[in-house]
């Protein structure tokens, strides 16, 4: 091996050379309309929205009179409500360059815990007060579980993939089965099911109202507040955030706690919606949430993404699944489709990153 560099050469030179690359934007102006067009095409949400529209158009043509109906969209929205709430939390986590695989299990666990309390305090006829306490217990479980995961990620420096995978198994396959003995609780307070699960508020199903309210509030927090900005900053360059005086560890704990809390809320929505704890039904919620977030333009490497993107991303996967059902594709192909979409979304992210780095 020959070393062309003299021994006295500065070892830091190669790193220094990197930012010295010439400017990447040779355009230097253009008409305002072109700049707006450039901005718009540069925003990944535009492309995601376009994909959603194409998908809807495709299924509408394929199944005329069946797909593009108001009831169908309402059902899709209700079906996806717990997933949307989960995906909102997952968005925050992924923006920090983390991942939360525990969400589906945590959804199950919080539903189980909340229902356990209600069963012991009135069962199907439980009062609103009991339901409220049960829900609070569920939410607290999600929050606490998420905070512990956040602590392990931020302070113990265990990679989030491992922490939340362990959390996924422990919550879903462990604690939830210990409590239920492996059989779903089918006694859910009627008031909860009839209101949150089946009822509407001002003509909008509760499930849709709650999940969208969560998405909107979280989207505003992400876009407009210091909390959101720190989330982006940490995902973009954690060391820079640290040196800027941001308490990165504390923020990460909050983010994972938030994801846990939202998984808890999703658990209550799911409980109300299915009238059961559905302990075996959420193994892939985590992947579906991650798919939605990444489809929405977020980078798994952190720092890039938006709540509106996540909502569109989730709409894409929901429409895709529903559409496949309506045009009569074998159910097992749908699982394949979801897997394919996830890989495609991550590939797109990689592709975008490479483009940015090379440009």
């Amino acid at each position: 091996m020959t070393d062309p560099q003299p021994a006295t050469g500065t070892p830091s030179a190669p790193e220094n050379a990197r930012p010295a690359q010439p400017a990447r934007r040779p355009d230097g102006g253009g008409s305002p309309a072109r700049r707006i067009a450039g901005r718009l095409t540069g925003v990944s949400e535009t492309w995601t929205l376009l994909a959603l529209i194409i998908l809807i158009a495709f299924f509408t043509v394929k199944a005329p009179g069946k797909f593009l109906t108001l009831t169908d969209f309402s059902l899709m929205g209700q079906g996806a409500a717990p997933l949307l709430v989960i995906a909102v939390g997952e968005t925050f986590v992924i923006l920090t360059a983390g991942i939360d695989l525990s969400v589906g299990s945590l959804l199950v666990l919080t539903g189980v815990v909340a229902d356990l309390y209600c069963i012991h305090h009135g069962g199907a006829g439980a009062s609103w007060a009991v339901i409220a306490v049960g829900c609070l217990i569920g939410l607290a479980t999600g929050l606490g579980w998420g905070a512990v995961q956040g602590f392990l990620v931020a302070k113990a420096k265990v990679p989030p993939l491992i922490v939340t995978l362990a959390g996924f198994i422990a919550a879903g396959e462990g604690v939830a089965y210990l409590i239920t003995g492996g059989a779903d609780f089918r006694t859910v307070p009627n008031r909860l099911v009839n209101t949150i699960g089946l009822g509407s508020v001002a003509g909008v199903p509760w499930l849709i109202a709650i999940s969208f309210a969560v998405a909107i509030v979280a989207g505003l927090v992400l876009a407009l507040t210091g909390f959101g900005r720190y989330t982006y900053a940490i995902g973009s360059n954690a060391e820079a955030a640290r040196r800027a005086g941001i308490r990165v560890d504390r923020h990460l704990i909050k983010i994972y706690a938030l994801s846990g809390l939202l998984a808890g809320l999703a658990g209550i929505l799911s409980l109300a919606s299915f009238d059961s704890t559905t302990i075996a039904g959420h193994a892939f919620d985590n992947l579906e949430a991650i798919t939605a977030v990444v489809l929405g333009g977020a980078s798994l490497f952190g720092g890039r993404g938006s709540m509106i993107g996540t909502v569109i991303g989730l709409a894409i996967s929901t429409v895709l699944l529903e559409g496949l059902v309506i045009i009569g594709v074998n159910q097992y192909w749908q699982e394949v489709a979801i897997g394919g979409v996830l890989v495609a979304a991550v590939y797109l992210d990689q592709f975008r990153r490479r483009l940015r780095q090379r440009a």
Binding site: S12, A13, R18, R25, T225, G235, N237, G303
Partner: protein, 255 residues
């Protein structure tokens, strides 16, 4: 004689078995440009990080205006008006220039809800860049899309805006072209003229002699020499850096 704006006395720092600083001294007086030079591994970066609050020394004293202080974090250092521009710039590439300028020091419209005042921050960023003569296509562009020189400018501007006492600049010109290099050196002089001290870490000896008022030389974790820049030559500096002036076996490490 005036007190140093910032002074280090006998600062020691170990990384495992490696002794990065071995009782290093350093001083910067108000309104001067001090060059901190030394061969690779002499402890320059460690000393800068110590004085900027990024790492805590094992032993030694840090004094601000003659009074001993604890710099437990970059925030502590900031409170004393100490800012640093590191070699890696420490910018968040996905955030725009205005956001990076205010990172950790956001201006809030509704402090209770931590709602950001984007317009105020944008305005302040535009003013700050204009004052420094930095030309950015748009302060709203992610910093990652800017050129190396522009990114450098953002990092320097961030330090300059907030520093009231001293700015550390670790190799601020290493990555830059000729024109941008000149601009950074101009900025250094302009900052000094405002009464803020600038500590310049550099490998470029002619540049050091051109811009610095004083030069402090580190070798193997200690200060081995100080020079008045106007009375020193490149040979003096290199000699002190490599130890050729003190010891006959200099090791031939001249850059």
């Amino acid at each position: 004689m005036t007190l140093p704006a910032l002074e280090a006395r006998g600062v020691t720092k170990h990384y495992g078995h490696v002794l990065a600083l071995d009782g290093a001294d350093f001083s910067a007086f108000p309104g001067e440009v001090v060059a901190l030079i030394g061969d690779n591994g002499a402890g320059k970066s460690t000393l800068v990080k110590t004085l900027a609050g990024a790492i805590r020394p094992d032993r030694g004293e840090i004094l601000v205006d003659g009074a001993a202080v604890q710099l437990a974090s970059p925030l502590d250092a900031r409170r004393h008006g100490i800012e640093a521009v590191y070699q890696d710039l420490a910018l968040a590439p996905d955030l725009d220039a205005a956001a990076n300028l205010h990172l950790g020091r956001e201006i809030y419209l509704v402090p209770f809800l931590r709602v950001l005042d984007r317009r105020a921050m944008r305005q302040r960023a535009i003013e700050a860049f204009a004052e420094l003569g930095v030309e950015l296509p748009d302060v709203g562009l992610p910093v990652g899309t800017l050129s190396g020189g522009q990114r450098q400018s953002v990092a320097v501007a961030r330090a300059v805006v907030y520093a009231s006492r001293i700015i550390f600049m670790d190799e601020p010109t290493a990555a830059l072209g000729v024109v941008q290099r000149g601009r950074v050196l101009d900025t250094i002089r302009r900052v000094r003229d405002r009464g803020v001290s600038v500590v310049l870490v550099s490998h470029n000896m002619p540049e050091v002699l051109a811009v610095a008022d004083r030069v402090e030389v580190l070798r193997m974790g200690r200060r081995v020499a100080t020079y008045t820049a106007s009375q020193a030559s490149v040979e003096d500096l290199v000699g002190a850096m490599t130890g050729a002036l003190e010891l006959s076996n200099g090791g031939g490490g001249a850059p």
